[in-house]
């Protein structure tokens, strides 16, 4: 099972500069744990104790996971995941 994950510029420090990495998992939560094994610290920029970090957008096949199942959204082989830090401020 292979899922392609697009990594935003600010998180490429965890992926040796790679803009896409591959991972696996039956859910988004499992995928993030899997990625964190090879890219320590990456998951901690996307989730915290409360779940998905509020100002990080995660998309599965171009849909915002907030409108799917959040961390429990199921994944299938060939799905593509994109991470983008929210652009926000006050």
């Amino acid at each position: 099972m292979a899922i392609e994950v697009s990594i935003p510029t600010i998180l490429r420090q965890y992926t040796s500069g790679e803009k896409t990495v591959a991972g696996k998992g039956a859910t988004l939560a499992e995928l993030l744990s899997d990625l964190d094994l090879r890219h320590p610290g990456l998951a901690g920029r996307i989730v915290d104790d409360g779940g998905l970090k509020r100002f990080v957008n995660v998309y599965i096949n171009d849909e915002d996971v907030r409108f799917l199942g959040g961390l429990e959204t199921p994944l299938a082989d060939g799905d593509s995941v994109t991470v983008l830090p929210a652009v926000a401020g006050g």
């Binding site: 510029t9 600010i10 171009d62 915002d64 983008l84 929210a86 652009v87 401020g89």
Partner: protein
Amino acid sequence: MLRIGKAIYDAIIAHARADHPDEACGVVAGPLGSDRPVRFIPMTNAERSPTFYRFDSLEQLKVWREMDAKDEQPVVIYHSHTATEAYPSRTDISYASEPGAHYVLVATRHPDDAEVRSFRIVDGEVSEEEVVVVGSAE
């Protein structure tokens, strides 16, 4: 230093004025590594708030994908402050996530006078820079 063409500079101010009293926000894209802001992309403020802005997540994905396809990057990320000065707030600093971008602030509190300032925000550090508007000599 931020070098920006007058047409885009004026478009940023016009957008900020149009959305006042809500904060306006957007991007100016340019070719990767060029530091030239050439493609003006006003964004929807999904918060529709006078004190907060956030790009709509699906709109942001579309725009980021487009920039990727065109070998562009966000050269300028702009937003307006409707009641305070054109200086990054603590929130602006903590959420700044494009280290290569020029963060442009427009203050719209005075109807006759827009204050425009530009900053780099890297690892939580803010440094102001000069804004040079090109093509403004009439």
